[in-house]
Symmetry: C2
Subunit: 515 residues, 2 copies
């Protein structure tokens, strides 16, 4: 058994059985091992940003890491942006990155690059196999690293000779370290703070605190103390709809965020973070909390968030259960010219039960999250790292993790362009994904941002940098080119029909909604 | 004048007047400055790999650096693969990378990343503006760094507050250091070696040694010594056709490369490098020179290559001029089912005068280079870094550098997918680019490579990692989606018609040749 096969068998022993891949010559032994060792599902992406984004989505919905297979430094580099997003989302991923044979590195061949250097900014753990026998051991360590805390990025560099040389065999799985429990003193301090603050208290949730069990605990704490529930702006995954306790979110726009937080006197962090502005702007604060607000950090996202919520619920004397919140009525299906409110209403009204929503609708879809509180139970996934080109790849991973659920990817056209190659993987794997591309043919957010930074009245050279017109992209053609069916609509009645039809069909479908 | 404007005016003062851009919020002041300072042509790319590849192509044909404008760490990361290629090609590029305002960095906002860490593996020079007044000075240094040696990658990190705060004004251009001259002893040693070796001598050229003046000098040296002329396998830019002296190239396949080099007893490096295998393979050598071959290094690509060739020509007593080589006859236009030889013949026969060929035809087009020796005068550009997704972006930069010349981009379908968003920039800027996509619907090179590494008889899981069928990409639809016209052909007669028609039309045209 060579090093490559020992690594594949180690990954299987560690319950890693999906590999998103874009291999090259230096990974051919790993590909050959995947080929003759049954049990690993291999999914090809035509660009590495698809591969790493898919691994992110897979982790979020499967709760366990997938492997990626990447071709040397440049292949890894192409996946770095979505690894950045995954890192900020605390997703666990095991990257297997091929490298030249160790004896070949000294010659500075065309593809030679500083792979560890490229991996470092996005990796919690980096290992390089020095020998074939080391590959299995490092593989087990990489999986344990990926499973550490809320989830981490592990990057294992596999020189070609360590893949092709004989090795001992697979390594056994390594259990990740147990999650840290919150200090009792912090629990007591948080309980007192929330009880004293009433409606001026806020419980900031994150990680598994935003899944059903965490939300139910948070609702009990809110019932006992009157505190508000929030997340830090976005969430890697939140369960919601169907009467689940609702959690607010900090608006992107700084002035709106300040207004949202202005009455908070006691902030308690359980999995969540201190709210900060997405970007800095001249004359505006980075820290969004009002002056004098007190913060009690109970548990970070890497700690045992559920345990902390259970103990906090006890400490505030929370009721054993609270009645489900009254679910808002489903909005009516709108007609006519699209507006953000109408788009939000239509998607909320039609969202199917157990949908997995991957939301990258940067400007056009800002209202959808709030409206979908009225929808059937669903999961909501945000981009935690802000690097666009997130939604299509993440949708691929979600669909593979949850083949019985419908994935709905919502994206602006500017964002969708970054990793549109994901469409082909959706077609090949017949993934059940409905995509809505909001075609405003611009980086609409930047028009506001240009004004926000004080550059009003832009001229044509600046406007050209913010618009995607001249020519207008044709998303139906782009979908077709990748083997995916598409429809273009510019009216809300037609949108509802198209959205319903896409949801009713198996496999990927794209709707271009012209705004 | 704020820091952003002082930097834009500094770039202009240093003769940088093209900016390939994909900006975000943190770059809005720079965009505003580009807007109201006349003289910089801004070209938007919908993905950063397009932006950096275009800057590479621009350098190769314009001989001066363009700027890129990239959005924080992830935006830079998306451009790293083509920066890797540019670095290996010794292309000069000035990256301007936006960063959060300095006071905002401590809060670890979603887009916060280690930008310098991401830049390091692909940059010769990295600078971060600490204050607005520093931006101009660093800008001038960055341009000088980009112009150093054969060309370098300079990465300037511009925190948003250093862009928006008042600054002093632009900085004057800084002259790059003069290129090093070759040692006399090396010249003399090389002259003796080549004279002694006769037909067993090889002059390995690179950099400007592959442009007209260098080739003419090399031909005179060959006439005097009988040596062969070669490059190291690929060239960033080579002038050829129309009777220019021909230069061989080392084949990609190791056994073929060993055969090509087997008679070389004296190797002289003037701008070229010692030949090494692209990849390592079990049981095959990395170094391709035959045992006992002696190497004399006269000038590296960063040294004064033309001066070294002039002095070497004198030292070998070369004739003052040599008659132009007999140009091979143009091949006849083939008909029928495409084969690599027919493809090579057709493209060579139809290549227009002064074409700029950007070659990423990894497997299907390996014969085109040799055949095109018979073509009208043209430039030939290769991928020096091996990271695919190179040709479309580089073609963008070439077309902007040489608006009066026809750019011909030759690419496999697998490679083209990586950065297909370049098509949109071609459409917007009406760039005169004819693309040929060799649609073999596979990573054909990897089928060979799987066998080369000893993994014969692959099963379905391996085959799936090497094929782009299921579904077949539709390149005509992909072109249309980006606003570019396209045709699909699967017969050589139709190909010739389509290629001729595309060359006759202004603006971008794509031909999908199904193999």
């Amino acid at each position: 058994m060579n090093g490559a096969e020992s690594l594949v068998r180690t990954l299987l022993a560690s319950d890693v059985n999906v590999c998103f891949a874009n291999p090259g010559t230096s990974e051919m032994h790993f590909v050959a091992a995947l080929d003759h060792v049954p049990g690993v599902r291999c999914v090809l992406g035509l660009f590495e940003g698809v591969v790493t984004g898919a691994a992110d989505g897979y982790w979020r919905m499967a709760g366990k890491p997938a492997a990626t297979l990447l071709h040397l430094g440049p292949g890894l580099a192409n996946g770095v942006a979505n690894l950045h997003n995954a890192r900020k989302a605390s997703s666990g991923i095991v990257n297997v990155i091929g490298e030249h044979a160790t004896h070949h590195l000294q010659y500075d061949a065309p593809l030679t690059a500083d792979i560890a250097g490229i991996a470092r900014p996005v990796s919690h753990w980096i290992g390089t196999a020095k020998t074939a026998t080391e590959a299995a051991k490092l593989g087990a360590e990489a999986v344990a690293a990926a499973r550490t805390g809320a989830g981490q990025i592990a990057s294992l560099i596999l020189p070609a000779d360590t893949a092709w040389t004989d090795a001992d065999g697979p390594a056994a799985a390594i259990a990740p370290p147990a999650r840290k429990k919150a200090d009792d003193a912090a629990i007591q301090a948080a309980a007192q703070a929330l009880k004293a603050a009433g409606a001026n208290g806020m419980l900031m949730l994150g990680g598994v605190g935003l899944l059903r069990r965490g939300l139910e605990l948070a609702a009990r704490i809110a019932a006992a103390t009157g505190c508000r529930l929030s997340n830090s702006g976005y969430s890697a995954r939140m369960e919601r709809g169907g009467g689940l306790p609702q959690v607010g979110r900090i608006p992107f726009v700084v002035d709106q965020a300040l207004a949202y937080l202005k009455d908070v006197r006691e902030l308690v962090l359980v999995g969540g973070r201190t709210p900060v502005a997405f970007f800095a702007y001249p004359g505006k604060p980075s820290l969004l909390l009002p002056q004098g607000c007190n913060t009690t950090a109970v548990a970070s996202i890497d700690d045992d968030v559920i345990d902390a919520l259970e103990r906090l619920a006890d400490a505030v004397g929370a009721p054993k259960s609270v009645a489900p919140a009254a679910q808002p009525p489903l909005p009516a299906l709108p007609d006519g010219t699209p507006t953000p409110d109408k788009v939000a209403a239509a998607i909320a009204a039609l969202l199917p039960e157990q949908a997995i929503v991957v939301d990258e609708s940067v400007t056009s879809g800002r209202g959808i999250f709030a409206a979908a509180a009225a929808s059937a139970p669903h999961d909501w996934l945000n981009n935690m790292g802000g690097s666009i080109g997130f939604s299509f790849p993440v949708a691929v991973g979600c669909a593979l993790a949850c083949p019985d659920r419908k994935v709905v990817a919502l994206t602006g056209d500017g964002s969708a362009f970054y990793t549109l190659q994901a469409l082909w993987t959706m077609a090949r794997e017949k993934l059940d994904i409905t995509m809505v591309v909001f075609a405003n043919r611009s980086y609409a957010i930047l028009r506001n941002e240009l004004a926000n930074v004080g550059a009003a009245n832009p001229g044509p050279r600046a406007i050209d940098m913010l618009t995607l017109d001249r020519p207008d992209p044709d998303w139906v053609a782009l979908a077709k080119g990748h083997g995916v069916g598409g429809r273009r609509v510019d009216d809300m009645g037609d949108f509802a029909k198209a959205f319903r039809a896409a949801l009713a069909e198996p496999g990927p479908q794209l709707i271009e909604l012209v705004l």
